[in-house]
Each structure stands twice: as C-alpha cells, then as structure tokens.
C-alpha cells in the first residue's frame, strides 16, 4: 500500500479572517483582543453611527450629564444581559430575569427595611435570592428535564407573584442614603456607582467566560451538550452552576434597581427579560448556543439605551419611538449578519 507524503499545511491564505475562538486569544495583546472582538461585532459600528447621528442632531445629546444618564440607564438591563449571556451561550434562555430581579429587590427590601438587617447582609441576601432562583431554574432544566423556556417562564410567573405577595403589594422604601449610594453615589466623580457595577460585572463575566473552566464548559455545552457529556463532563452540574451564576447577576441587578429607585417596586420587571435578551443577541451572541461575547452584550445594551435616549432627546413621539427602535434593531443585526456572511 502506498503511503503518501503527509499533506503539508497549506498556508491559510484562504482563511482571510480568523473566526475568534472563545478564549483563544491569549497570545495576542489586550489591544488586539479588544480590536478583534470589536470588529467581530459590527454592532459596534452601529453604536458609533448612532452616537454621531444624535450628537449632530441635538446639542443636548453629547453632554457629560446625558452620557452619564445613558450609562446609568444601561446599568440594570446591562447587568441582566451580562448574566443571561452565559445562559444563552449554553443554548438556553432565561425569561425569569425580569421579574426575578424584582423579587431580589423586594427581598433586599425585606431584609433591610422590614427586618432591619445591616446593609451588607441585605445586599447579600438579595443576591442570594437571585442565585437560588438560578439554581432552581438549573435544577428544573437538568434534573426534571424541562425545556429552559418553560422552566424559566414558570419561574418568571412565580417570581412575579412572590414579589407582590412578599412585599404586601406595596413598594418597600429604603431609608438609608448609603443604600441608595450603591447606585447613585459617585466613587468616580461624574460616574454613578451603578455604571461602575455594570462595568465590574462585565469584567468579571468576561474573565469567567474566557479564562475559566466554567466559561469553557458554557461554550462546550452550548456547542454540543451531548458530546460534552460523553466526554465525561458533568453537564448537569455545570448547567446548574451556569444558571446560578446568571441568577447572581439577576440579584445584583435587583439590588442596583432598588438602590436607584430608593425602593423595591414589586410590580416592575416584566419586559426587562426581552430587552436584556435583545441586547445579548444584538451583541452577536447566538440563541442557538456555542457563540457569544460579553463585550458584544455590553455594546448591544448600549445600542438600545443610546437609541432610546436619543429619540427622547429629539422629542420623538413615544408611539414612534418603538417603530424606530424596531427598525434600527433590524438594520444593526442585518449589517452584522452581512459581515458574518462575507467572512464565511
């Protein structure tokens, strides 16, 4: 039998743009990583275009106060989106983040205002509520075998109900300024703490997703859960952990929104999940799983809030705003998919 010369590696001239593997970027500098990730997401271009457009259209847009306002308004949705990026990369979905956030806020209120516990305990309690919800979601999905959509839809309803029940169908107010400062204080002058928390969350999530074993399994499960399981990875355990992590972010969002409003509003939250998921997908994460990035999510969330803020600054009528937002989402994701197709 003839043995051939082993095929020499053909230099990849036919591979103009390398698709960026998750976490495969360590040998390049941080600048390069950032650049390649930004390019990866044409969403970023959309963001820039939007900012330029609004800056030209209105002198009130590109002011320190308004930019800080935009960032502040991104904080809650952004934190939710960052958390749910994990879940979406596994190929799952989490509809419970909106009302779940509210339940966490209510629980924080119960701990701090109703039970008089110290701030720190209350905050941890609120976040733990989120983690518990995430854990239950993960358990229901893995051990009970429920589809993520249904498991988290049920949790969405349960959290919504419980938030009302526990709060006694009334907002719980926070008296202490220190609590409100969690969102509105300015450790960095001019930048509300809520924004700082968002960036911190994103940074932590980025590191976890690209540098740790949890991140690796998140991508692996989303890419092919069965293969991951057959490789000896305890996919159930990791899936539960991933939903729990998402729950922790939900808890953080709950604390931040409570601090921002100075109160836990038990009826808030419906619809936040769709906004957060939209931000994630606009940022280039695939609902089919296996692909996604935190930076993209952040950009996606910013696109949404820049757009909405800009339309408000321009005093576009509320009923037209949705129409415009819808069209911009279509265009943004379309240009992004164009780039992807050209690349493929």
């Amino acid at each position: 039998m003839t043995t051939s010369t082993p095929p020499t590696p053909t230099p990849s001239a036919k591979n103009p743009e390398q698709i960026n593997p998750p976490g495969g970027a360590e040998r390049r500098g941080i600048g390069q990583v950032l650049r390649s990730q930004l390019q990866q997401s044409l969403a970023f271009a959309t963001l820039v275009v939007l900012i330029i457009f609004f800056s030209v259209s209105s002198s009130s847009f590109f002011t320190v106060s308004n930019i800080s306002g935009i960032l502040l308004s991104t904080a809650v949705i952004g934190i939710l989106a960052v958390g749910t990026t994990f879940v979406i990369i596994t190929g799952g979905i989490d509809l419970s983040i909106g009302t779940g956030m509210t339940l966490c806020a209510v629980m924080t209120g119960v701990f701090i205002t109703n039970m008089g516990l110290p701030l720190v305990v209350g905050v941890i309690g609120g976040i733990a509520t989120g983690a518990l919800m995430g854990f239950i979601n993960g358990f229901n999905i893995t051990f009970l075998g429920l589809p993520p959509f249904i498991a988290t839809l049920a949790m969405m309803l349960i959290a919504q109900g419980l938030a009302l029940v526990i709060s006694g169908v009334a907002p719980i107010y926070f008296a202490e300024q220190a609590f409100k400062d969690i969102a509105l204080g300015t450790l960095i002058p001019g930048l509300p703490n809520a924004v700082l928390i968002l960036f911190l969350c994103a940074l932590v999530a980025y590191v976890v997703l690209s540098k740790t074993i949890l991140g690796r399994y998140t991508f692996a499960i989303g890419s092919n859960e069965e293969a991951t399981r057959l490789s000896g990875v305890n996919t159930r355990k990791w899936t539960i952990l991933i939903y729990t992590v998402a729950g922790i972010f939900t808890g953080i969002a709950g604390v931040v929104i409570a601090a921002r409003l100075g109160s836990a509003q038990p009826q808030l939250g419906t619809g936040y999940e769709l906004q957060a998921i939209a931000a994630v997908i606009i940022g280039g994460t695939s609902l089919l799983g296996g692909r996604g990035s935190i930076l993209g999510t952040l950009i996606g969330a910013l696109i949404m809030s820049v757009l909405i803020n800009g339309l408000r600054i321009l005093s576009i009528q509320t009923e037209w705003q949705n129409v415009v937002v819808g069209i911009v989402i279509l265009v943004a994701v379309f240009t992004d998919s164009l780039r992807r197709r050209r690349e493929a």
Partner: protein, 306 residues
C-alpha cells in the same frame, strides 16, 4: 446637574419659544390622552410648545425616570411631572431644581421640595363617590365586586380604597366579595368579570376602576346577555365605549375626573412658574359622577372625552 445654559434658555419671557416637557405616567390609555389633549389646547392658547411622553405601562418606574433624565438634559423651560413613585424621583427632581428648571406636577406628586404645584384629583374621594352611588343603586345591601386596573399604582389603589373604605364605613349591609386586577386590559377584565359573575351568583354590582376595567365588565355583561337590571356596573373615566354603555343602560354610571382640566391647569401652572409667578400649590380639578341623565349637561360634557 449642569447644562442649564444650553439650548433655548435665552429667550424665555413671552409665549414664543417656551418648551414645557411633560412626563406622564403613561400615554396609551385614554385618560392620559385626554390629559395630553387638555395640555395641548392650553399650550396653543399660550403659544408655548409641549412634549408629552410616558412609559408604556404604569409599572415602569425606571423607564419613567429615564424619560425625566432625558428631559432634564434637554433643559426645557419647565418640567411637568406625574410621579409613578413618590420617592424614586427625588434625586432627579432635585437635579432639575438645581438646574433652575421649574417643576410642576400633575396627577401624583414627588416627595421633593422643588415642585411648585400639583394639579390632581382626589382619587380617594372619587372612589368614595362611586361607592355612594353603587350603594344607592343596590338599595344599600348585597354583594359587590371590584375589577381593578392596578393593585399598586396610586390611582388604582386610591380608587379602590376610597370605594372599599366608604362601603365599610357607611354601608354595613354591602359585602365586597371579590377584588381582582386585570391591568386595564379589556379582554382580561372581561374574563375576570365573567368569572366573578359565575362564582358569585348573588352578585349585585361590579365597580371597574378605570376605562379598560369598566369596559371589560360591560363586555362581560354583553357576552352573558345580562343587562343593567341584572347587575349594577359603575365605571371610571370616560371613553366612547363607556359612554355608550351608560346610554344603553348597561352601565349605571361612572366617575370621571377632569383629565382635560388637569392637562390645561398643569400647562398653565408651568407657564406661570416660568414667568416668575407662583401658581396655586394644589389645584383640585374635581371629579363627577355621571349617568344617562346628566351626561349631556354642559359641566359634565366638558370633562368627558370619547
């Protein structure tokens, strides 16, 4: 908290060029559209321009704050605000004060010292008035139920509580057997009313706390082929469907506030504040019970809207 000198700040004084930003609790419901209409009418009379916006649902405290923030950054000549939550708004309203933007309020207030006035109705009193008429029509006894539109926002709570408190205080023989909430969604409210009617065969009256709730109850009656003789329905707000129902006798009557008046008075107050005058601190625009008999009265007709 800066930016007060940008934009249209310079030439205030007459009506021309004055911009008033109104942040409402909502914009989709007929009530808020009527407020908007009143505001626009007065704005035209005064020659000022207004913007009017509000979140899609009255639970969206956060979204409303963002609108307020964006409005402050636009630095209008005055802001008119209807608070979804009295506390959450404090930092932003204070910021508006710091930026020397006069703030007036409508419908519900913010717990801040900055706003100079508020145009609103006494929802508790309006609820009580509904209870009085309901009791009278029911002959002072029997079972009654409430289809609420919100169990948490202030108008929903006060219109309910005013009704409930008045019933408990004044009409011991009337029992409130059920209170459920349909988010002001016509369809949901209709289904709730039907379930109530099924569950409580002796039910004599239903009170719907806003237009969607009330019309939902009326729809339930239609669908069950019931009439106003079988069940006393008292509604809230106006709108064509509700007014038709009253004309047809399906609905006994309804409470209306004066949303058009609220809008007009709010713009007037803002205009006054811009011009350095001090508007009245609380402007009560009143509420009325209307039924088939007095609907066409001039005073009543003026506050109704289709």
């Amino acid at each position: 908290a800066q930016g007060g000198d940008a934009g249209s700040g310079g030439d205030a004084g007459g009506g021309e060029g004055i911009e008033i930003a109104m942040i409402s609790k909502g914009f989709q419901h007929q009530f808020w559209q009527a407020v908007k209409t009143g505001a626009e009418q007065r704005a035209e009379e005064l020659g000022v321009t207004i913007t009017f916006e509000g979140p899609a649902s009255e639970t969206e405290v956060d979204a409303q704050l963002q609108m307020l923030q964006a409005a402050i950054d636009r630095s209008p000549d005055a802001i008119a605000y209807a608070a979804l939550d009295p506390e959450a708004c404090i930092p932003l309203i204070d910021a508006a004060g710091a930026a020397d933007i006069p703030v007036v309020q409508f419908d519900a207030g913010c717990d801040s010292d900055v706003p100079v006035s508020i145009a609103k109705t006494d929802s508790l009193g309006a609820g009580a008035l509904a209870a009085d008429h309901m009791a009278e029509l029911m002959g002072g006894e029997g079972e009654v139920a409430i289809v609420g539109h919100s169990q948490i926002n202030s108008t929903g709570v006060e219109r309910r509580d005013g009704f409930v408190d008045q019933m408990e205080a004044e009409y011991p023989d009337i029992e409130i057997v059920d209170i459920q909430y349909g988010d002001g969604d016509h369809l949901k409210s209709a289904d709730i009313a039907k379930a109530m009617i099924a569950a409580h065969p002796d039910l004599k009256g239903i009170y719907g706390t806003n237009e969607g709730s009330a019309v939902g109850v009326v729809n339930a009656l239609t669908e069950l082929s019931l009439t106003g003789d079988d069940l006393t329905v008292i509604g809230f707000d106006s709108g064509k469907a509700q007014m038709d129902a009253i004309t047809n006798g399906l609905m006994a009557g309804a409470i209306t506030q004066n949303p058009i008046g609220i809008g007009a008075e709010t713009v007037q107050a803002a205009f006054d504040a811009i011009n350095g005058e001090t508007p009245e601190e609380v402007i009560d625009t009143g509420y009325f019970f209307y039924d088939a008999d007095n609907m066409t009265d001039e005073e009543i007709a003026a506050v109704l809207y289709e």
